[in-house]
Amino acid sequence: MSPVLRIAANELRLMARARVAQLAIALVVALSAVAALTAISQGRESQEIRSRFQAQADREFDGQPARHPHRMVHYGHFVFRPLPALAGFDPGVDAFTGSTLFLEGHRQNSANFGDVRQSSLLVRFGQLTPAFVIQALGPLVLIFLGFGAIARERDSGRLNLHFAQGVKAGQVVLGKAAALSVVAGLILAPALAALAWLTVFVGAVPAAALMLAAGYAAYLLVWVLATTSISALAPSSRTALATLVAAWALSAILAPRLATDIALLAAPQPTRLETDIAIQRDLKKIGDSHNPDDPYFAAFRASVLKAYGVTRIEDLPVNYRGLIAIEGERLTSALFERYAERQFADQRHQSGLALALGGISPTLALRSLSMAASGTDLEGHRRFLRQAEAYRYAIVQRLNRLQAERLTYSDDSKRNSDPGAGRRVRIDPGAWRQTPDFVYRPASTAESLAASTPGLLLLGAWIALASGLAWAASRRLERAGA
């Protein structure tokens, strides 16, 4: 057996005989296992609930009685974002952004029912998911078990005993790192099992699961190398512990908060209220379809009359009210779209900044990779909002077309004063059943992998940096002679 393997095996034997180490490993592996099981069961349960609610919403829309199409425009429709198969592994921003949208005419509503709005404050700190356990607790356990790996050997004089056997400093550093890697493997094992389960039984994309496995393994490797190196470089085991705990607090706790704050400061977004006021102001600028003197709609009416070769709207072969509804919806949707795209661009800028800050924290780099591969990043949320908006626009315009094509202008104008007209403007409920259901199209595998790649590259850079640190630590140990 090579000295590196012998040192690693001995380190593991020492851990196996130390009660505190046994307890720490057992605890984090148990937490990781519970998180993995929770991910599997919650994912399935949440998916079932969403599917059930979506089916119920579809049924209720389809089951509406004969109505005026514009009443259906305002009756609206709920759509639920299907849970990505890997969301149980890393819920990402889903818990905050919500996954349910109420779609109606003339409005673009926000997503609702994020977990944090339905649960206690604890949820905001961190859910017990494999992602949280490995991102936050995994490094802490590695630090706790590894801070003295070399420092304690040096403090006790055993390091010189190693050197006296002809062992090189680099072999000691590698051996200790290899032992800590085994612990990292134990922490990772339940999460890998969960990923395998989600891939085989829940339909997760294998490439995305592999990307997650690679990302989390790389992340723990960074901490293994950093812990071993600091243990070798620090003047005492106490200093090594203090340095590593400070690095953990900075990377896993402080940096994510700082990244959010820096991104918000660098690319501030208007509040919801400010946006609403701005939209209302712009809506007023577009014009008022009920005002006969409104210049935009007067011009619109003139163009419609000209197109049909008539002089009065009563002579049109279609219901002018329906045409106004179609045009109004086109204008407001374009406005909403413009605001939404501006907001998405701001968010993308913020996400880019947060990812760039991955250079100061491997946790940030991993979070970016993890959410992208799990399909729970902001891009996934934006994808849902875009598809839901496209669906909303399609069904509202479909209803507006029904109003324009199947109702007469005369009936539509008198529907509140003439009971007969009021009955005639109600459309057969079969029309609602012909409305297509909302089908969410998740990111393709290529898109998912492309979004995860920057995080993986950053983690690669972190591994290179930590390897350099380990090499420097070996050189220094060799030169200093313990």
Binding site: M1, L14, R17, G157, N160, L161, G166, A480, G481
Partner: protein, 243 residues
């Protein structure tokens, strides 16, 4: 292994100079230890005794001078040198949750040796560690017991050179006498032993030669034969250490 002629010392240090942090620690140190000889290097705290050992093990590079251990240069052939030496630190730090057997198997395994249980027992018998203690965890071992384990390791490795760093500090007189007997046994097997210490009496009891290290070099060297005036040497040692 390079062949040593009978006339060549196992340890040969000539005009050794070592600086640490810009300050000279050793200045033109000369010393030699032959096979089958015990050399006691005496010196006060900070005299450079442990630095000398670090240079011999290849853990420190000299600023100038020549150092040879079994004919090899520790600065450039550290691995080969370390395979030929056994080092006993002042406090032999063993893994406390491992038994004496497990500690020996581990440390010897690092240098590629795989001693059998019988071989370990023979070495531990020679070192004087009682049989009942060998399977116990070494966490409860006294300093003397830990030293016996380390001596057993040196015996098993059959190395020609032993470096002992303050081996009798903190030992009671009985344990010191035990240790000196062990050193005598190793010398009889032909080992070259360099022992750094500030225990003049202990050195006089087991060494063949005594060198006093002060100001970075040997200021006095005397054979530790019958009739050595230990008190006079002690006085001069004190004066030299005081500078």
């Amino acid at each position: 292994m390079p062949d040593l002629t009978a006339a060549e010392p196992a340890i040969d240090v000539r005009d050794l100079c070592v600086d640490r942090g810009g300050s000279p620690i050793l200045k033109d140190l000369r010393l030699s230890v032959n096979a089958g000889e015990v050399y006691a290097l005496l010196g006060g705290n900070g005299a450079g005794k442990s630095t000398t050992l670090a240079v011999l093990m290849g853990l420190l590079r000299p600023a100038s001078g020549s150092v040879r251990v079994m004919g090899l240069d520790p600065a450039t052939q550290a691995d080969a040198v370390r395979r030929r030496i056994a080092y006993l630190p002042e406090t032999v730090a063993l893994y406390e949750t491992l038994s004496a057997y497990e500690n020996i198997a581990y440390f010897l395994g690092l240098s590629g040796a795989r001693p059998s249980r019988e071989e370990m027992d023979a070495a531990l018998d020679a070192a004087g560690l009682q049989a009942g203690a060998r399977t116990r965890r070494t966490g409860g071992f006294s300093k003397g017991m830990r030293q016996k384990v380390a001596i057993a390791m040196a015996l098993l490795r059959e190395v020609p050179v032993l470096l002992l760093d303050e081996p009798t500090t903190g030992l009671d007189p009985v344990a010191t006498a035990d240790f000196n007997r062990l050193v005598g046994g190793l010398r009889a097997r032909g080992a070259a032993i360099l022992m750094v210490t500030h225990d003049l009496l202990g050195a006089a009891d087991c060494a063949d030669r005594i060198g006093v290290l002060a100001g970075g070099g040997i200021v006095e060297e005397a054979p530790a034969r019958e009739g050595l005036d230990v008190l006079a040497l002690h006085r001069r040692f004190g004066e030299a250490a005081a500078g």
